[in-house]
Subunit: 99 residues, 2 copies
């Protein structure tokens, strides 16, 4: 399984609005096993996004989905940057959607 751990910096004051766009609804992203959006309590502009996908190809394919493209378009003006990004090899755990 393909994992991503990343921190996104919102434009000042825009974190809540950006988070509302980033939090996905269940379903609709094939191969997505987990996608969690969280605030960084120590930085009022930062969000952590942790993702688990069946494989890297599933993640890449998701970026072409119409609803993801729309979310990217709406979110982009509120994103100041991506300041951490780790790719992981996910072994297992609790809360991974069944494939």
């Amino acid at each position: 399984m393909y994992g991503l751990i990343g921190r996104i910096r919102a434009v000042a004051g825009k974190r809540a609005e950006l988070a509302a766009i980033l939090v996905p609804r269940e379903g609709g992203m094939p191969g997505c096993l987990s996608y969690v959006v969280a605030e960084d309590p120590d930085d009022a502009d930062a969000l952590w996004v942790t993702e688990v996908w069946v494989d890297e190809a599933a993640h890449r394919a998701s970026l072409q989905l119409p609803q993801v493209q729309a979310a990217i378009a709406r979110g982009r003006p509120m994103i100041a940057g991506f300041d951490r990004r780790v790719v992981t090899n996910v072994l297992g755990g609790i809360g991974l959607r069944s494939r």
Copy 2:
């Protein structure tokens, strides 16, 4: 919801053995909504653990569970250290177990 993102360093050569202990089974940890264990592809001794709990109290309580205490006891000799730890305020997402 209470989130944790952490990186654990295994004693050299012990990552796989440590990971086998850390990957939890479904059920048995009240208040645990997600618990994912992953290898860091860039560091042969590092594991990432990302967790989501109903609240901080649920996480704290889990540390007293017999099976968690047993896992800690078995894993401790294989842990060299914890080199990253971020507490987050989880907003939502995909793959969170229902409470």
